[in-house]
């Protein structure tokens, strides 16, 4: 039996661009370039490494998002994933984390899986809650925030990993099926090769709508969201501070400033 790996990825506005809110207080995706979330590249990379170490494995890249989100799937396919699933539906606009986890969980179940691999968070919402929500919804072990991960024994095997927490480092272990998330410390993601980019164009991407997943429109979207952004204000630019050139007195001047602010 083949090890079925599903990697969840997100198409996000470029973090180095000028990101804004749209009028309905959702993320404005029109005025800034989008791309595969950098933190999800690590998930794709670890899925590829797990596949390379396994006898037989297949990687499906799953995303929920607008038409352009197909770019994120193509990027992952060009890195080496085998096929894609894109859930796209106009009723999804404005869906929050709870709703997104519902859509992802249904799509993962429909696709079939032994191992779900996620990044540690998205670079736009930065919540970092999706992997835990997926484990909860799917009713399988949560093996998250890993800086090292490995799978032994195929589809009925075990996943092991190292979680570097704030106060301790933990070695974790769970039986498959399971949901894992990996951090940016898990290993640099590979660049797509020219051959990979060409091959990706021929790889299948399945398009799904909410109906295909038996999800009602009122369970998702802006109206169905479990949270509501009531107000978004651009942070005022910081007022220009004092800048001095160090000509031997820089440290003294800085110490004077810090003392004035009662830091010393």
């Amino acid at each position: 039996m083949s090890l079925r790996i599903v990697v969840c990825v997100k198409y996000v506005p470029d973090a180095t661009g000028d990101r804004h809110f749209a009028e309905d207080l959702t993320v404005d995706r029109d005025d800034v370039d989008g791309l595969l979330s950098e933190l999800d590249e690590y998930a794709v990379e670890q899925a590829l490494q797990i596949k390379e170490a396994a006898d037989d494995a297949e990687i499906t890249v799953l995303t929920v998002g607008p038409e352009d989100a197909n770019d994120a799937i193509r990027k992952a396919l060009s890195m080496g994933a085998d096929k894609g699933v894109h859930v796209e539906d106009e009723d999804l606009h404005g869906t929050d984390a709870v709703g997104t986890s519902l859509v992802l969980a249904k799509a993962i179940e429909k696709t079939g899986y032994d191992l779900v691999v996620c990044g540690m968070a998205s670079t736009d919402g930065t919540m970092g809650v999706l992997p835990a929500m997926l484990a909860e919804r799917l009713g399988v072990p949560q093996v998250t925030q890993l800086s090292e991960v490995s799978v032994e024994g195929g589809p009925n095997g075990t996943v092991k990993g190292r979680r570097d927490g704030d106060t301790a480092t933990e070695q974790l272990e769970a039986s498959l099926p399971a949901v894992v998330s990996v951090t940016d410390q898990s290993g640099e993601a590979r660049y797509p090769s020219f051959k990979g980019i060409m091959a990706a164009k021929k790889k299948p991407v399945e398009e799904l709508e909410l109906d295909d997943l038996d999800i009602d429109a009122d369970e998702v979207g802006l109206e169905g969201a479990w949270t509501k952004v009531e107000d978004a204000t651009e942070r005022p630019a910081r007022t220009a501070g004092t800048i001095v050139k160090d000509e031997g007195e820089g440290a003294k001047q800085l110490a004077e400033f810090l003392a004035g602010q009662k830091f010393i």
Binding site: R19, V98, A132, E170, T183, E234, R235, I243, K245, F257
Partner: protein, 324 residues
């Protein structure tokens, strides 16, 4: 008055500072009821009472340490059900640590609630608590609330002052049955992080960070010396961490820790968006950099254009002298 559940982050009974900040915020919304789990849970009660907990629900079972996250969700769910049955529950607050967010996420799904993470402020509102968040690398401030279920909100460290507010802090044992399905992820071993003796990065009032300009692991003691003179935590930019000069646990930025101290000192850090995302909400920002064009100078309250190897050691001496 409605009650607010506060999830207690503690290490063997010693309560971590973000939990005390949560109690300050919880008191704005209702009566704080603390939930303290695992080894040393009962030892947290006195500190929690001093900071406003009217009740402390405790549970200690081996499962909390032996399995990842899920048993704690079972316990928090039991607390939600017990408080809801007895009265009204206004919100569940957790610290915005990796684990706090994961517990909150699973709880939200289980009890059918929305979740807000990384709040930097919280106030009572007519339709439930209103959370302030800082988003898009801190270029926007949003106000949000939860529209379904009992609000589950995680709050970043340094979002509120720690305020003494004596309350009863009555200890009650919380009855928890850890489901078999919550024992899926075994914690095979746990190695506590070695203490540096410095304050925790996300909790510190002052942070001193070094970047590419530090130019090597062997030079980081220059940064550490300034940090120690100020009683500060040490941070590092992604460039410094990727180069292997300083541990990833100290990385400040989008893919590292997000800090909001009273004072942030950036030495040899240019101030790329990736770094700014993690420190832009600091109250006072100071930078030392050779390059006067460095974007970090757009953020500073005070900047010194100069060689950090001259300025930082001299500043360390100045601080020591002034502190006597």
């Amino acid at each position: 008055m409605a009650e607010v559940l506060v999830y207690v982050d503690h290490v063997d009974g010693s309560v971590r500072k973000p939990t005390l900040e949560l109690l300050t915020l919880a008191r704005r919304i209702g009566d704080p009821v603390a939930v303290s789990l695992g080894n040393g849970a009962a030892d947290t009660a006195a500190t929690l009472a001093e900071h406003g907990a009217v009740k402390v629900l405790t549970a200690d079972a081996a499962e909390f340490a032996d399995y990842l996250v899920a048993p704690k969700v079972d316990a928090l769910q039991a607390a939600v059900e017990s408080v809801s049955a007895a009265g009204s529950l206004a919100a569940v607050l957790l610290p915005s640590s990796a684990e706090g967010k994961e517990i909150g996420a699973r709880l939200a799904i289980r009890i059918g609630s929305g979740i807000i993470t990384d709040a930097v402020d919280l106030e009572a509102g007519d339709e439930g608590p209103v959370a302030t968040q800082s988003v898009f690398a801190a270029s926007y401030t949003t106000k949000s609330r939860i529209t379904k279920g009992t609000p589950v909100i995680t709050v970043k460290p340094n979002s509120a002052p720690v305020e003494p507010a004596a309350a009863a802090g009555a200890v009650e044992e919380l009855a928890v049955t850890v489901a078999d399905s919550s024992k899926g992820t075994k914690v095979v071993s746990r190695t506590p992080r070695e203490s540096t003796g410095r304050p925790d990065l996300t909790e510190a009032a002052i942070v001193v960070s070094g970047g590419r300009g530090v130019n090597g692991a062997e030079n980081f003691p220059v940064i550490e010396a300034l940090a120690d003179s100020l009683g500060a935590a040490v941070g590092a930019s992604r460039a410094a961490v990727d180069a292997g000069w300083y541990p990833h646990t100290n990385q400040v930025g989008q893919t590292g820790k997000s800090v909001s101290p009273q004072l942030y000192i950036a030495a040899g850090i240019s101030g790329a968006i990736q770094h700014r995302a993690g420190m832009q909400t600091s109250k006072t920002i100071v930078a030392i950099n050779k390059d006067e064009e460095a974007p970090i100078f757009e953020l500073v309250d005070y900047g010194v254009v100069g060689d950090l190897f001259n300025v930082v050691p001299a500043l360390t001496d100045e601080v020591k002298t002034r502190k006597g």
